[in-house]
């Protein structure tokens, strides 16, 4: 078994879709249409009817972005502690336990080294399904280690953000991860190594106000919610309803805050092109990665 298969079999994330006749239907929260789960997966978790980009599990996204079999995960042994013994209606410890038991990632981010076309990259992908993708000490540390690996090995960094912001349950320590990751990016910049920030729905709060907006290039998926303050907080402050499309990717593009809005199917190509430009190397044309399907093995699927 390859290392990725091992992780996948352990986490259950990459389980093949069972070839049963029992169809599993999912409602698109945008257009309210019923979609076959298989269709959704085959379409990169994009609604085939209205193009709504669903949230993705990190391994699905990694598969979409890097060359097959090229991803090596790092630091998956880092897990959240409970530094301030936080308890609201539930204990933070128990929230983490529940999240871990769900069998997905070991915290709200998956980081590792992979190859994208001809480029070696340090790739960090948020897991919104793990406590809302919130950034605590583990997320900050894993991103920082990823950046440091890139510095040591002359690699580019790509971070795919999908997070509600800092993890309140770690108090000030989660706020400090903004400083820690941003300071690490300064060292990366001094080495003239590229950093591309990809913003998925949602990217807000402390994640937005640190590394997510420090990309040499910032790319957003279509219609993603991106902002510092959440829409509800703004509505409470100004006591009026926000206009349609406010804080969405296209709005940010119009206001000069991001470089591109890129459809998920085109993301890998754009990233590869941009990296080639930044490094002034020839651009090799990539075909779009195949999504995980019942027919194609999700790990070994040959995308090239």
């Amino acid at each position: 078994m390859s290392w990725l298969e091992r992780i996948i079999s352990k986490t259950g994330m990459g389980k093949k879709i069972p070839k049963t006749t029992e169809a599993s239907w999912i409602e698109c929260k945008k257009c309210k249409e019923q979609i076959l789960e298989v269709d959704l997966i085959e379409n990169f978790h994009i609604c085939p009817k209205c193009d709504h980009h669903f949230r993705m599990k990190p391994l699905d996204r990694i598969r979409l972005l890097v060359n097959p079999d090229s991803f090596e995960e790092h630091d998956q042994n880092l897990t959240s502690a409970d530094p301030i013994k936080f308890k609201d209606k539930k204990k933070y410890k128990d929230r983490v336990k529940t999240a871990l038991k769900a069998g997905g990632s070991t915290d709200a981010i998956v980081c590792g080294t992979g190859k994208m076309g001809d480029h070696e990259v340090e790739l960090c992908v948020f897991d919104f399904f793990f406590l809302g993708g919130s950034m605590g000490s583990v997320v900050g540390e894993k991103i920082t280690r990823g950046i440091e690996r890139a510095i040591r090995n002359d690699r580019a960094v790509i971070i795919v953000s999908c997070s509600g912001g800092a993890r309140m349950q770690e108090g000030i320590l989660s706020l400090m991860q903004m400083a820690k990751t941003s300071a690490a990016l300064q060292l990366l910049a001094e080495k003239q190594l590229p950093y591309i920030s990809v913003l998925a729905d949602p990217t807000t709060g402390g994640v937005s106000a640190s590394f997510a907006f420090l990309g040499d290039i910032i790319i957003a998926e279509p219609k993603a919610l991106i902002g510092f303050a959440g829409p509800r907080v703004i509505e409470q402050t100004i006591r009026q309803k926000l206009p349609e499309g406010f804080q969405r990717s296209e709005f940010l593009l119009e206001h000069g805050l991001i470089d591109q809005v890129v459809h998920r199917k085109e993301l890998r190509n754009h990233l590869n092109n941009l990296l080639s430009h930044m490094k002034n190397t020839p651009i090799s044309k990539l075909t779009t990665a195949k999504p995980a399907t019942a027919e194609a093995d999700p790990v070994k699927s040959d995308a090239e």
């Binding site: 000490s137 108090g171 000030i172 903004m178 941003s182 907006f213 420090l214 303050a229 804080q247």
Partner: protein
């Protein structure tokens, strides 16, 4: 009329008693010598203040930190420094008035001092947007910090904000980018940076000028990833659970010192800085002087390395073996 917090009521009662005894003994000779009574009450008052203020929890400290008479940035600047030359504008269309800054003399040394300014009266509060900065404020702060670096001038930041402004215009002008970029640049500035939380250290809006070689906190200030109100409404689904939230968030100076997030707690006058602005400034100035002296002895490269390392090491997690 001074605003009196719940836990200050008894203190004010004793203070009033002392005042009354004073005026009685001044007005009527017949009451005899009250010196003994007054001395006794004064002693009682000191003990009360100490007991009450040593035992404040997160929510009570938040109230002290937000006290309308607490000294603000400009009060500290006036009381600690001389020859303040305020500088304005982000040079990109914004005045950024929720943050004040400029050159000032600290003893004989020029420093760049930058801090959130909340505003004292209603008109000033509105003009300053209650210390909640727009992106322009952070960009102005950064401009001033770069100016300081150019002339090898140390930077002192005073933090006192409920948070970065959550408004439509702030979002349109790139609030996230403004904060993020400050963190990015501050980590590499080649001059000493000392950040002091003097009141409310509200989340990203506080951190945006808080990436210092030294991070100090006034005794009764607070510093948190989210306001108690925000935390209560998100995690408890009940914005009245502020007391619980404030306690859970570990936002007091003592708690943050234990987490190694701050380097020094600066004492306040007994009963809180709002009771004696000048005294509070004297105490802070003394602490700043010794920290600045230490940092001025470091080379630019050492300053950057020390700051980088300081923030690199913040975080608590488990490393379980596979």
């Amino acid at each position: 009329m001074a605003q009196i917090l719940d836990f200050e009521k008894d203190i004010f009662a004793v203070e009033n008693q002392i005042k009354e005894l004073h005026s009685l003994s001044n007005m009527y000779d017949s009451v005899g010598d009250l010196t003994h009574e007054i001395t006794k009450l004064k002693k009682k008052l000191r003990h009360m203040k100490r007991d009450v203020f040593n035992g404040l929890d997160g929510w009570q400290k938040t109230q002290v930190a937000r006290h309308p008479e607490r000294p603000y940035t400009l009060d500290y600047i006036n009381n600690m420094f001389t020859d303040f030359e305020e500088l304005h504008g982000d040079r990109h269309g914004g005045a950024g008035v929720s943050i004040s800054g400029g050159f000032a003399k600290f003893d004989d040394q020029t420093v760049m001092v930058i801090g959130h300014q909340k505003g004292r009266d209603t008109a000033e509060k509105i003009r300053r947007n209650f210390g909640m900065s727009q992106p322009a404020g952070y960009r102005k702060a950064l401009r001033l910090m770069r100016l300081a670096e150019k002339f090898n001038i140390p930077i002192i930041t005073l933090i006192d904000t409920p948070g970065a402004y959550p408004g439509m215009d702030a979002e349109e002008q790139g609030q996230s980018e403004a904060i993020a970029y400050n963190l990015f640049v501050m980590s590499s500035l080649k001059v000493p940076i000392i950040a002091v939380i003097i009141g409310e250290g509200g989340s990203g809006g506080a951190l945006a000028i808080g990436l210092g070689n030294r991070v100090m906190m006034l005794e009764h200030s607070v510093y948190s990833v989210i306001s108690p109100e925000g935390c209560a409404s998100i995690l408890w689904g009940d914005k009245d659970k502020v007391k619980q939230a404030a306690r859970a968030l570990n936002m007091t100076s003592k708690q943050l010192e234990k987490l190694d997030v701050i380097d020094q707690i600066v004492g306040e006058p007994l009963g809180g800085a709002h009771r004696h602005h000048k005294w509070a400034a004297i105490m802070l100035k003394k602490a700043l002087r010794s920290q600045l002296k230490e940092l001025m002895a470091l080379k630019p490269s050492e300053l950057v390395a020390q700051r980088q390392e300081k923030f690199r090491n913040i975080g608590v997690f488990n490393t379980e073996k596979e």
